[in-house]
Symmetry: C3
Subunit: 273 residues, 3 copies
Amino acid sequence: MEAKLITLITDFGHKDPFVGIMKGVIFGINPSATTIDLSQGISPQDVLAGALVLRYAVPFFPGGTIHVAVVDPGVGSSRRPLLIESEGSFFVGPDNGILSLALEGKKISRMIDLSNKLYHLNPASTTFHGRDVFAPVAAYLSLGIPPEDFGTTVHDFAHLPWPEVTKTGGALVGKVIYIDAFGNLITNVRDRDVSALHPEKPMISVAGVTVEGLASHYSSGREGGYTALINSWGLLEISSFKGNAQLLCGAKVGDEVLVRNSQESEQQAQAKI
Amino acid sequence: MEAKLITLITDFGHKDPFVGIMKGVIFGINPSATTIDLSQGISPQDVLAGALVLRYAVPFFPGGTIHVAVVDPGVGSSRRPLLIESEGSFFVGPDNGILSLALEGKKISRMIDLSNKLYHLNPASTTFHGRDVFAPVAAYLSLGIPPEDFGTTVHDFAHLPWPEVTKTGGALVGKVIYIDAFGNLITNVRDRDVSALHPEKPMISVAGVTVEGLASHYSSGREGGYTALINSWGLLEISSFKGNAQLLCGAKVGDEVLVRNSQESEQQAQAKI
Amino acid sequence: MEAKLITLITDFGHKDPFVGIMKGVIFGINPSATTIDLSQGISPQDVLAGALVLRYAVPFFPGGTIHVAVVDPGVGSSRRPLLIESEGSFFVGPDNGILSLALEGKKISRMIDLSNKLYHLNPASTTFHGRDVFAPVAAYLSLGIPPEDFGTTVHDFAHLPWPEVTKTGGALVGKVIYIDAFGNLITNVRDRDVSALHPEKPMISVAGVTVEGLASHYSSGREGGYTALINSWGLLEISSFKGNAQLLCGAKVGDEVLVRNSQESEQQAQAKI
């Protein structure tokens, strides 16, 4: 059995040793594991951000990768620890929705409640399942232990609602779902949503800013202005070339984004909605 | 000889290439080394925080691990660079106390002053022993060079005082020793200190806040309130569910924490002290 | 062919999964690659800082290392993606100068415009060449694909101007070129520039602060004061022992630094300039 990658997403940050401790547990069990930090900088308890980071990272990992995601405010409560196998890859984390966006539309082969304490640290704490449950399970899984050995099969898991884009008249109404460290405003409006709109030149409005047309790359825009483009996740994004769109316009996650035909006024588009 | 893990604790942060440069030196000497970041985010010159991070991470690493800790304001001065072997693991760093809390109560097999310049970069700077002394020593050690080859045996090393919990009457008086990135207030009061107190329901006071009873997990508390629990390091911790206890109450490292019987007023407990 | 190291410098930060995604692409192509973060914390679009980090890290990596540097505000525009081979090591990144300071004075064996799309992800985005171009090229290169297979040979690349130190009368005039996370002010004045000056005790002035003489190590200075020394990169640096020189004096990158003979007043030195 070849070595598998283990990726880690947490809200533990980089100041404390919590992620390093998880790696100590992993390498203690499987010295030939390879771990990759997807993000340890998720905002505390921001399960949605963790789920989005996982969703858009998974397609770039080889089959067989084990993805561990621990944004887990309910650690130690009755929320279940889960292992899900889907299309040849593995997802390990709390059953709070953090795994759900990456699994949307995917075939699920197995869902296991990690109830077999043989594969946990002993004793396990009630406050750090990243160390005591998820890290050792991922490590034993990377050694080739079959998924069903880790606990009992279950038949559902918690889903975060994917914020849907609505279409009214000629306009799309979406939301800002993620803001990256550059201050780029990433929306839930997909490439194909915009294509389906067929406007000659879409007008994109968010947080009081309106951008006309889609650019092909960041430096198409002028410094200090705004640019809209389809980003590397296939999503509509509003950015500011060599600037920070979030700081410039004050947008935040959850803000509405409106995409309409340039022949139509914002009032007309909103009236239709 | 099998490959060994090398862990790294520094106050170098993530903006500058200093940690990456240390890894370049390590992999140049031992291409099959595995390095793990325990924390590169220790506050500048905070030797105590580095020592605590090391202490609570070490138990989760396999035997034979080489722990390198470089919070080293005295670099280039007469403070000695050390290698300590204890219970099958290795500790490399400046002799300023950073290694001491992890070694408390442990059997020490060897203490070496890293005086053999054959295993340093040549020339070695006086400002970056992480790169020029500690990284190459850790790498050569991971190749199987015996500890005594790195320098002369010494018989003591600098100790940080472990802040002791005092007991007066029915009350324990401890301190906040570490605050993590979630804002959780970690104290020096251990699980067994609280158990030895035998109160029906302990009252925990810190920074003007009083919490009644110990919770089993974070989400036992209500949002915006405070929760006390025994954390994953076996220490009494005050947290705020989905909040940041440090920001809420303004506590800082060194603040006093009082644990008393709920039948007793804070005044009575303090009068006894 | 033995495994090669792949180092990564980006301005992607640690909150988002962009660096982890690049590693997913790399390990998907070469499962036995070893990646090292040199810095993912370059300030957004700060090509000069990325180029300096690369320059001073490269000498500490073994021959054959593949250095990937992606600070790339022009991604998707006509700026070329490059692979440069120099003295047995490899440099991969956009042709915007980020590779140039590390290559100054070095023998260049090959310069390749990465025009062969066989080694890119397909389709490649116009916004994330780190993932779609530079990561796969580095991974295939680490597998032993010859450099010339990645595209067409070119004969020049973009150079950042290295800020030269000028000498007028007995004084050197340099600049602050980088400020590290400790707040140390790193200048372009080299060890040999200062030696060539032959002052008994150099007087160093920057941002309204004057320091007399060079110290051998940080703790030579008194807390709260300033110290000048030759740092681990061989450059003149102004620091404050257990303090943050940048915060204390307000210096910024680009500020002038003056090194003169202690027998000479600042006015005399400036008059000569």
